[in-house]
Symmetry: C3
């Protein structure tokens, strides 16, 4: 193992009405987090999430509006095209407390978002197109030693 | 960035039949965690969660009983009225594996709860009432430099 | 508090078609993570989750197939029978973005899984059978000082 280690932690409330993904992306880039972890809670005004359909190499998109708790936002930060890139998934609850979720797409409008971004030191990870996964950009698999 | 860093990590099973939120609050205060992150899994005997209704400045409350997996408990610790304060959200699964979730309210009775609390060094964050968010106490937004 | 601290962080994409739990278990054991935390996102081809039924001392098992986003995978690593043991829960979303979840059982087949395992230094935790919790192996409760 050449393990990574924690470099710094950014704890922040994201601006109301900002786009969740844009804002996470902006924080990661501004803070220079090339490798990291995201965890957050809060609430959204609108949500737009994706479910990946491998046979169509695209995300099925679902949209939500109204009171939406962010039961959990989680994800990672790595490099894509050489710059910090956020990959985040979310679990939401509607007014009946029913949970919904998926891949965070542009279109999640923040009501309140309290996020913790951990920045790691260690070997960078780069997202690249993978022949077996059309439509996605993924990290290389670990080499067997 | 003046990043926070990890000070210590508390890993614990919470007592059966304790109130989840009370117990997290007690651990945070006893361990002096003024700034931190919570992650946990387990199961509850009963659950009580809230969905915030901004136009009514209150939480809609939903209650659950029976076998309830804690698919994920997450949250943060900051200061409110000068003492460590837990803000936690949860995702539960019922006996059909259907997921439900929301803001953790008093009334979540623990069956098993395995929690990891990370304590951070760094600038304290204080929850304060915000004019635009009646019914909530929130961190200040980051100042643009 | 005798807090634990972070020793190292392993960030990895798990092999496609591997069994999620087997693979997490293998990473924890290979990397010698005796005490740790797991967080991940991705997608599964099939899922098999459990909801614990205390009165029957067993998990109710639910199976899923098709496009399944891993909205969140979380868990902990401690010792069982002296070796690193993964306890993980998951939240999934189906093609309609409906969320499901539970305790991760063998039978979750990976499409893409991006996981972050944090390894902690500190007092080891051991899973042991507990008289009041038939069917489970749990950490001891914290002694009141």
């Amino acid at each position: 193992m050449s393990p990574a280690s924690t470099k710094g932690i950014v704890i922040r409330r994201l601006p109301p009405d900002s786009d969740l993904l844009d804002e996470l992306q902006a924080v990661a880039q501004k803070e220079g987090i090339a490798l990291g972890h995201i965890s957050g809670i809060g609430a959204l005004k609108t949500a737009r999430v994706g479910i990946f359909l491998p046979d169509q190499a695209r995300y099925e998109v679902k949209e939500f509006a109204g009171e939406l708790e962010i039961c959990h936002l989680s994800g990672n930060i790595s490099l894509k095209d050489g710059i910090p890139f956020v990959h985040a998934h979310i679990v939401l609850a509607d007014r009946e407390a029913r949970a919904w979720g998926g891949h965070v797409l542009p279109g999640c409008r923040v009501f309140v978002a309290e996020v913790i971004l951990s920045s790691f030191k260690g070997e960078k990870k780069e997202r690249l197109p993978q022949p077996d996964f059309p439509g996605l950009a993924l990290w290389s698999l670990e080499e067997e030693p």
